[in-house]
Structure formats: structure tokens, C-alpha cells
Amino acid sequence: MWCDSMGWIEIFLDGISEAFGLILSSDAEILGIAALSLKVSMIATLLGAAFGVPLGFLIASRSFYGRSLTIAVINTFMGIPPVVVGLAVYLLLSSSGPLGFLSILYTPQAMILAQTLLTFPVVCGLTVSSILALDQRLKETLQSLSAPKLWEAFILLRESRIGLITAVIAAFGAAISEVGAIMMVGGNILGYTRALTTAIMLYTNTGEFALAIALGIILLLLSFGVNLALTILQMRYRKKR
């Protein structure tokens, strides 16, 4: 094996130069893998937010029997191992599973579904905590002004927007970095369901370290780009305070 005769620094530097070579030459395969990762994780984050924010808001702003228990369950699911989600979605989508008729196992849709199940509790749990952290007098003020429920929700969500952006950042981070779930339900099929993390795992196993490092760098850069955009948004909101 060539890696034995080479120090890790050489491998690393080689990986970095290869990474930039690949990025600059816009290698179609690499671009495809990166684009799929970004697409799957972004859609999963958006879907997770679309369900997680409203549900988190409802849980935080209503009082109902078993609320603390509900919140504890959601918080637990925030840290669920991706492979467990992968397993669950696999069983759901497998030909004998309840959603087997959809025939979407080993497709990007299955990957989006699995990652949505990961992002949803993250967004939901962090939404609950940012709404709960709001000044209680805000709600009373809205009530005394006779604000309808939807307007009340709008203002309260607006007031907690910094926390909501944090929720989206955390959810996207969980999605783009996980490998277990998309591996199990996507299958790492080249040109179809191979994402950055699953590709890194594969190339590491086959000893193609430079390629793996290149993909790792691309993953970090993508993640950094998305987070930078979200953080700028967050800072813009904070300035007014």
C-alpha cells in the first residue's frame, strides 16, 4: 500500500492540493456528489424547519397535559444517532415495510426523508427553548392589544428569530455531517445517492485518502458557506438590540 511509504503529512498535503485541483477543474463526479449532499441536507433542513418551527411554537405557547414529557422526548430525539433513524426509515421503506409501496429506498428522496427526521427534532426542540426564553410580558402585551392568534405567533416568532436561526444552523449541521442515515437508505450509489460523507467513508475504506480529504475539505467549505450566510443574517438581526 502506498500509504505505508508516505508520511501522513504528505497524504494530507497531497489531499489538499488534489482537493483544490478537483474543485478548480470542477470534476463532474465531485460536483455531483457535493451538489447532492447540499441539496439533500438543505431540503431536509427546510422540511425540518417547516414542521419543527410551528410544532415547537405550539408546544411552547400552549399548556397541555404532558407538556414537559413531550419536550423531554423531543430533546432526546435531538441527539438520536443517525444510524437509528436510518434503520427506522429503512424498515419503513423496504419492500415489506408500510411505506414500501413508494419504492423510494435507495433514492435521494429516501435520504431527504431520513435527514428530515433528524433535523425536525433539532429545529423543534430549539424552537421550544427560544420561545420559552421570551419575555413572558410580550405575550400578555399581545393579548391586551387583542392580537389574533396568528399575529401573536408572528410577533413571538419574530422576537425569537435569532434563536430560530440557531435552530436552522444546528439542524443543517446535523444533516450535512451525518453519514449513518443516508448510507442506510441511500446506498451510496455513484452518480445517484453518493453524498460527501458516504463518499468520504468509502474512499477512506478503499485507501483513496487524497480523494477523501478533498471531499472532506469541500464538505467543510460548503458547511462554512451556508453557516456564514446564516450567521450574517443572525448578526444583522442582533444589531438592532
Binding site: 410580550l138 400578555e140 391586551s144 399575529w151 419574530r158
Partner: protein, 240 residues
């Protein structure tokens, strides 16, 4: 029947009875001031009138209608409240005041007109575009007042609207309250400041440890109080 009527209203929080059977009639169009030491239950009383909380026993009537949990949202539409420590929304001064008109479905030009009038009343037109969170305490208090007045409520509840403010801000707020009173609005003004009560109120009520000790015309309240405790409160002999 009085515009706002409280009948033997009792309210307790955990083991402590805060309001011990309060009865009072507030007439339409009057400016009544409720005074009393800290912790006597003034804020609690205002919150009950605004239907933000409900009595354990006793009744509250607004315009002849008994206030219940069910009709509170409806009755509250005619009530404006300025809280003891108001919170403003993280938005411009203008948007803070315009908010309640937007969901009331008023057309934009009417909203602009009304917001400008409300801001004028508290002399804040120059700050309309400022972020509300950057305001000074006095300015914020004035925005809260404008926000509660802009939808033209019949009843205005104010909880210490001038506490910790300098004379200039006090003057502006008192001017706005006089103006509201001139427009036949019913104003309930909770204040620590008996001089403010003297300056503004038609009648003054003294709340002591959850009991309505005395309700009188302002002049009589200060010059011929019926209850010895009122005399002691006015003279500042009541230690609290």
C-alpha cells in the same frame, strides 16, 4: 350601572389573598386614580379588569356585561392597557404603534393618520422610524401609551405610567391622559404619586393590602378623608 363595576372581587396567589373582596364603581368618562402602597394589589386589580386573569370569586362588569373567560377577548377590544414595565416589540416605533391597527384591518392611509396622531400626542413623531429597543425609558413609556391609545379604546388602564420618569416626560404623559379624559374616555390610573392623582383625577381610590379603603372625589379624598387610614396615607405617616 357604572361603566366598570367590581363586586366583592377576591383573588389569591398560592397561599396569599391579594384582593380581599374589592368593590368599586367606575363611571363612564371619569379619570379615577387608584393609589396604594407597593404590594397592595393595584397591578392585580388592573389585570383582572383587562381580563388577563380572573377573580376567584366576585364579579367584574364592563359596560354592563359580566366579564368571563369566554368574553374577555371580545370585551378587551375596547380596553387599552399600559403595563407597569411595558415591553416594546423589536420593531420601529411606528410599527409598534401601528401593529394593533394592522390586524384590525384598517386601510393603510388611515393607519398612518392614526399612528401619527397617537405619536403626536406623546410628542414622538420625530422618532417614528427609530428601533423601539433603542429608546430611553421615558420615550419607551410614551410609545407604550401611544400603542394603547391608537385603537381608540373606551377604557384606558395605566399602571404607573410615569414611575421613574423626569418631569418633562411626566408632563407629556399627563397631557396625553388629560386629552384622553377630555375625549370622554374612562381612565383608570394606578400611581404611587399622590400629587399626580391630585393633578389629574376626578376621583381617587385607596387600596390597602387588598382592601378598597376609600373612594372619593379628589378634593374630598385629600381634604376630608373618611377613613383614618386614608389620612395617614396622604400624610405619608403610613409606613410601607
Amino acid at each position: 350601572m357604572a361603566y366598570v363595576a367590581l363586586r366583592s372581587v377576591r383573588k389569591r396567589y398560592s397561599d396569599k389573598e391579594i384582593l380581599k373582596g374589592v368593590s368599586i364603581d367606575i363611571q363612564r368618562g371619569e379619570l379615577i386614580s387608584i393609589v396604594g402602597p407597593s404590594g397592595s394589589g393595584k397591578t392585580t386589580l388592573l389585570r383582572l379588569i383587562d381580563g388577563l386573569d380572573f377573580p376567584d370569586s366576585g364579579e367584574i362588569f364592563i359596560d354592563g356585561i359580566k366579564l368571563t373567560m369566554e368574553n374577555a377577548p371580545k370585551l378587551r377590544k375596547k380596553v387599552g392597557m399600559v403595563f407597569q414595565n411595558p415591553v416594546l416589540f423589536d420593531a420601529s416605533v411606528y410599527d409598534n404603534v401601528a401593529f394593533s391597527l394592522k390586524f384590525r384591518g384598517l386601510p393603510d392611509d388611515l393607519i398612518r393618520q392614526r399612528v401619527e396622531a397617537a405619536l403626536n400626542l406623546v410628542m414622538l413623531n420625530d422618532l417614528a422610524k427609530r428601533s423601539a429597543l433603542t429608546l430611553s425609558g421615558g420615550e419607551a413609556q410614551r410609545v407604550a401609551l401611544a400603542r394603547a391609545l391608537v385603537y381608540d379604546p373606551e377604557l384606558i388602564l395605566l399602571d404607573e405610567p410615569t414611575a421613574n420618569l423626569d418631569p418633562a416626560n411626566v408632563l407629556i404623559i399627563e397631557g396625553a391622559l388629560r386629552e384622553a379624559n377630555l375625549q370622554e374616555k374612562t381612565v383608570v390610573l394606578v400611581t404611587h404619586n399622590i400629587f399626580q392623582a391630585k393633578r389629574l383625577a376626578n376621583r381617587v381610590a385607596l387600596l390597602l393590602e387588598g382592601e378598597m379603603v376609600e373612594v372619593q372625589e379628589t378634593e374630598s379624598f385629600f381634604n376630608r378623608p373618611l377613613d383614618p387610614r386614608t389620612r395617614r396615607f396622604i400624610d405619608g405617616d403610613l409606613v410601607y
